[in-house]
Symmetry: C2
Subunit: 137 residues, 2 copies
DNA sequence: CTTTGTGCAAATTCTTTGCACCAAA
DNA sequence: TTTGGTGCAAAGAATTTGCACAAAG
């Protein structure tokens, strides 16, 4: 696995430092759309010297090189996703978990983009209550 | 106009104070999806005592009562929209302006929402470069 | 040896909270 | 006179920046 992640980074012109590998691997293996804090809390025990600055730096780089995407679904925290393919997201108002949603293939994510506008990113966001939180009241 | 805004607030159980009327009127008459700062800068000259706390309070209340919606399109600032109907948004990476996009009526904003999930809000966000910024390089 | 990466500490910035005063019902 | 609204000042919290040291090519 690590070899793949390493190559994945290299293929995007990112030098695979210990920290960068750890961050990228974590995001790929924990598909929870983690926040910076999630990543820090998970990796800090193994890499005690790891700083949030480095996580921020790494995430910025990974986003810039298209290795991951940022989600705007949470106003409070930036969330990161290692799945760069087009899919929708659902965030629960109660537990703040973010789930992936498949976009029905009969549905086309397209609006009337005015002439002259260039689209770089599309996000389809749903908010509400997840199954767990819907049934526990 | 002011009378309509007043009634609009009252109909939602919101007491139409001078500050609330000003905020709501501003949002309705300036469809730029303003930030708190936009609102503050615009209203402060006329209501010098107006505080940001009151703007925050008012916006929270307006959102809670469904008079306006919050946009998650901008990671840095909350943006507010007086148009509560279903439509998409485009944010320019360069000038950070937000425009409304019509959702083509052949397009259905629907994903495979799992059973047990309750949807409260849907947002379709586009990011990229607007016409003005695309042509000025 | 030169460029790039890391991480501590401090600074920034948006938003929230505590609290006292003011206004309306 | 009691409830609700406003706004100042301070606190909170996520992110960014400056800078010095470490590591890699």
């Amino acid at each position: 696995m690590d070899v793949n992640v390493k190559d994945y980074l290299i293929s995007r012109g990112i030098r695979p430092s210990v920290q960068r590998l750890a961050v990228m691997t974590y995001i790929l293996e924990n598909r929870i759309h983690p926040t910076v804090d999630d990543i820090f809390s998970a990796l800090n025990p193994n890499i005690p010297t790891l700083s949030k600055t480095t996580i921020y730096n790494t995430l910025d780089l990974l986003v810039e090189r298209g290795a991951i995407i940022v989600l705007d679904i949470d106003a409070k925290f930036k969330r990161y996703d290692g799945d760069t393919s087009l899919h929708a997201h659902f965030m629960c108002d109660s537990c703040h978990s973010v789930s992936d949603l498949e976009i029905k293939d009969t549905i086309f994510i397209q609006s009337n983009i005015p002439v002259g506008f260039t689209v770089r990113d599309v996000q389809l966001l749903y908010k509400g209550s997840c199954h767990r939180c819907s049934t526990e009241n």
